[in-house]
């Protein structure tokens, strides 16, 4: 059944999700995409003119979905977001308005866990720093590279044992790391549970941040926690920048209160604190832990699948709210 462009269900797209660059054409063959950034109209006017009857929204993880934004879409029934994290959305307001929400579910968990482990090994074994050393032609001049730290035997505390945290734990066990965790609730896993992050930090020398950003976890990792982690301590963050008090983290790194950090996320991306750029004991990445060809393909299929389900009155594939 051939559908003309006008028969395709309409979806307002906010935040210009990057997967559209690769999958835009396929997506456009299934849905009539309303893209405000391609219009000369300011956003509010675009919405008033073109999106009053739109029932579905696709938004990126950077789009702030606030009550004020939602009030501009009187017909909105579903929001599908490309991120696993939900800290950019006012879920209570969505619930109140009867708007269903679907996210990226667990499709990124393996890639993010892989990256977390990659960062951890890099920081402890100085992989990026040693690669720089070789590329700068320094090896013939300084025969020996400074010794690094063994991964095995490290006491790794996972903050948030959800889908990503569990994948991290599974990967680190064969390295001989000793795993424990902090979470809102105890889980049916063989690892020691600590309800309090500070206590977890006193028992560990590596923290891997895997939890969601919420009001409760904002600045969860602060100076006290870092001091408790200790001078041999390493922090790996593949979650959200704001879970760590960034200023205090930078201070602790500069002053040697912890030994190093692997950071994929920051408080105010793409800005990264200047002081970190000259440190040899940190590894910095531009929010890419989830970003592989595989995961993008999966994301396209999931976003497309969720929207199709909505328009066919079927259950969403990765619903977030109990509707």
């Amino acid at each position: 059944m051939a559908e003309s462009k006008n028969d395709l269900p309409a979806v307002i797209v906010l935040g210009n999700p990057s997967f559209l660059k690769l999958y835009g054409e396929q997506f456009s063959s299934k849905f009539k995409l309303l893209k405000p950034w391609e219009s000369s109209l300011p956003l509010n006017q675009f919405i008033t003119t073109h999106a009053q009857s739109v029932q579905a929204m696709l938004c990126s993880g950077g789009t702030r979905v606030t009550p004020s934004l939602l009030s501009q879409f009187p017909s909105l029934r579903v929001i599908v977001t490309t991120s696993a994290g939900l800290n950019h959305m006012d879920l209570d307001e969505c619930r109140r308005l009867g708007i269903s929400v679907a996210n990226a579910g667990t499709i990124f968990s393996e890639d993010v866990a892989d990256f977390a482990v990659g960062l951890l090994i890099d920081v402890l074994r100085k992989v990026s720093a040693a690669d720089r050393f070789v590329r700068n032609g320094l090896w013939p001049l300084h025969r020996d590279y400074p010794l690094a730290s063994k991964v095995g035997g490290r006491k790794v505390g996972i903050v948030g044992l959800g889908s990503i945290g569990l994948e991290v734990a599974k990967r680190l066990e064969p390295f001989g790391c000793v795993i424990s965790y902090q979470s809102r609730k105890k889980k049916p896993v063989p690892f020691p549970f600590y309800p309090d992050v500070h206590e977890l930090a006193t028992k560990c020398d590596v923290l891997v941040i895997c939890c969601a950003l919420t009001d409760q976890t904002r600045h969860l990792i602060n100076k006290e926690v870092l001091l408790a982690l200790g001078k041999q301590g390493i922090v790996i963050n593949i979650a959200r920048g704001a879970i760590i008090n960034e200023m205090e983290l930078v201070q602790c790194l500069v002053q040697g209160e912890i030994a190093g950090a692997g950071l994929d996320v920051f408080k105010n991306e793409p800005n990264v604190p200047e002081e970190l750029l000259s440190l040899d004991n940190v590894v910095l990445s531009p929010h890419v832990a989830f970003l592989t060809e595989d995961s993008f393909q999966d994301l396209y299929e999931l976003m497309s699948g969720n929207l199709e389900a909505f328009f066919l009155n079927k259950p969403l594939l990765t619903p977030v709210l109990d509707d």
């Binding site: 866990a113 990256f115 090994i121 990026s128 070789v134 590329r135 690094a148 991964v151 531009p286 592989t292």
Partner: protein, 313 residues
Amino acid sequence: MESIGVLMACPMSSYLEQELDKRFNLYRFWNFPQKNEFLTQHANSIRAVVGNAFAGADAELIDSLPKLEIVSSFSVGLDKIDLNKCKEKGIRVTNTPDVLTEDVADLAIGLMLAVLRRICECDRYVRKGLWKTGDFKLTSKFSGKSVGIIGLGRIGLAIAKRAEAFGCPISYHSRSEKPNTNYKYYSSLVELASNCQILVVACALTPETRHIVNREVMEALGPKGVLINIGRGPHVDEKELVSALLEGRLGGAGLDVFENEPEVPEQLFGLENVVLLPHVGSGTEETRKDMADLVLGNLEAHFLNKPLLTPVV
């Protein structure tokens, strides 16, 4: 034992050096630019040589040390020691197996992740301020990729165990099939390379395994394949490797060892699909101390007429 002469082939560990100095009469070979003069003067005092991956005991050195009883290597690899000569002359040889297995395996996985996920490239991107101009590109997923291991010894098995936790199917090539594993065996290295996405060198360097990773193997691994070398530089035909990478016939490489360390082919410096490390496979504080203690333990055992801890010959 302070009168026993021990020759240290090159600098390798200040802790080991200090301890050897305390217990024996230590000669630091690198402090004597005139090697022949040194040997004429001191050869008869030297009863032990301590070597490593860079410098050991070749036939020439062994022949010039008539009182040599034991070569204790600060490495697990024995390619810098003329084992046949040692056997011939009844000279004992020890190395440092097991204590460094985990570190080397950890680094192999670290290199796989660094290459596939472009971790070092990401770090450069941020430090150069490029994130402000745009997002980084898509990289290759590591979990689930098939890993082929050349040499399923201690290190090869440790790599397999770690890769399995990432859902990587494991296959291997070695001189003979190993009992007690479920991993798929390939009697042909080219066939292994054709059937895996990441190929890692984890075997000993012998005359048979020199340049075992040649052009044919690299082309079988292919434009999306990644080579990881935590063995010895001469395992890989380095010239062929450089052109395969430059021409895109090989997808990427994570290299901890090179044919002529510390020289690294400069053409690799500009490539973002390679990670280059200065032979740090066992380079952690913890492991180097364990290795040093094993060298010391072997030497002491020998001179006290006790069984050697980790004898090879």
